[in-house]
C-alpha cells in the first residue's frame, strides 16, 4: 500500500505521549473520519474481531463522547469516554479521556491537531497524563524506539523460552 504512513511515537514533554501519522487525504475528510460516528465505527479500534458497538459523539465544547468495543458477538467489552474541550473543525480537537476499566490512574487530555499540505494530512495526537509517573507507566521503555538493544535481547530470550 503506497499511502500507508508510518506511525511515529514521541514524548514532547515529561507528561505527554505524541503519535504522528500522515494520511493521504485532505484534512476535512480526516476530521470527519475522526468525529462522525458512522465513520469512526469503521476504523477506530476495529481489528482482530473487535468492533465498536457504541459510538456516540456530541461534537461541541462541553459535549461528551462514548465508545464501547466488543470482541466477537458476546466477548469482553471495553469502554471509554470523555468531554470535548475544544472543537475547531477541521484542524483541532481537544478532549478528556477516561476508561471504564482504567489501566492508568486518573484522566488524560487528548489534543489532536490536523495539518494539511499538498493534499495530505498530518495528524498529531498528544495525550497529556496526570503525572510523569503515569505517562512513564503507559509508555516508557520498550515502546520507545531504540531504547533497547538490551530489551530486544530480553524479548528474544523470552520468546525462545516461552
Amino acid at each position: 500500500m503506497n499511502n500507508t504512513g508510518t506511525l511515529k511515537v514521541t514524548t514532547p514533554s515529561e507528561r505527554e505521549i505524541a503519535m504522528t501519522r500522515v494520511f493521504n487525504a485532505p484534512r476535512r475528510l480526516v476530521f470527519d473520519a475522526w468525529t462522525k460516528p458512522e465513520l469512526l465505527k469503521r476504523w477506530l479500534g476495529v481489528r482482530g474481531g473487535w468492533s465498536m458497538v457504541v459510538c456516540e459523539v456530541d461534537l461541541k465544547v462541553g459535549g461528551t463522547y462514548r465508545f464501547v468495543w466488543r470482541k466477537g458477538p458476546d466477548g469482553p467489552e471495553m469502554g471509554m469516554g470523555g468531554v470535548y474541550r475544544e472543537v475547531v473543525p477541521p484542524e483541532r480537537l481537544v478532549a478528556t479521556e477516561s476508561f471504564d476499566d482504567p489501566w492508568y490512574p486518573g484522566e488524560a487530555l487528548d489534543t489532536t491537531v490536523l495539518v494539511e499540505q499538498g493534499g495530505k494530512t498530518t495528524v498529531t495526537t498528544t495525550v497529556l497524563y496526570a503525572s510523569q509517573e503515569v505517562r512513564d507507566a503507559v509508555l516508557k521503555s520498550p515502546m520507545e524506539r531504540g531504547v533497547a538493544e538490551s530489551y530486544d535481547k530480553l524479548a528474544e530470550l523470552l520468546a525462545s523460552s516461552a
Partner: protein
C-alpha cells in the same frame, strides 16, 4: 489510548511492571539477568553505583514481580521472572498494533471517501 483485550493482566500489575521498566538501570539489570542469575555484587559491578543504590532498584523490580531470589542463601542471587515481562511486552505490542491496525483501516476509509467525493463532483457538473 485504547489497548483492547490484552489478556487477563490487571492494570495494577501492568502499572507496576511499566513503572519498573521505565528506568534504564533497571532495564540493564534485567538484561544482565536474562543471561543467568547474579548476586547483588555482580549486578552492581557494571554500574557506577553503590550497592545500596542497586539494592533499591532490585527492590522495585522484585515488587513488580520481575525478579526473584535464588536458592543459594549465601549469594542470594537474583533471577529473572519471565512471565510479567512477557505480559508487558505483549501489552505494548498490542498498543502499537491497535493504532497501526486502526490507521490502516482509516487509510482505506479515506480512499473510499475521496473516491465518493470525486464521483459526486462529476455528477454535479
Amino acid at each position: 489510548m485504547e489497548p483492547l483485550g490484552y489478556g487477563q493482566t490487571t492494570p495494577d500489575r501492568l502499572g507496576a511492571t511499566f513503572a519498573a521498566l521505565a528506568d534504564p538501570t533497571r532495564r540493564a539489570i534485567l538484561a544482565r539477568l536474562a543471561s543467568g542469575e547474579a548476586s547483588v555484587t555482580e549486578l552492581a559491578e557494571p554500574f557506577a553505583m553503590s550497592q545500596p543504590a542497586i539494592s533499591k532498584h532490585l527492590k522495585v523490580l522484585e515488587r513488580a514481580g520481575l525478579i526473584s531470589r535464588g536458592r543459594d542463601a549465601q549469594r542470594r542471587p537474583r533471577r529473572l521472572e519471565a512471565v510479567p515481562l512477557a505480559e508487558a511486552t505483549q501489552w505494548l505490542e498490542g498498543y502499537r498494533r491497535f493504532w497501526e491496525g486502526s490507521f490502516q483501516r482509516l487509510d482505506a476509509l479515506l480512499d473510499e471517501l475521496k473516491t465518493k467525493e470525486k464521483k459526486r463532483g462529476r455528477t454535479k457538473r
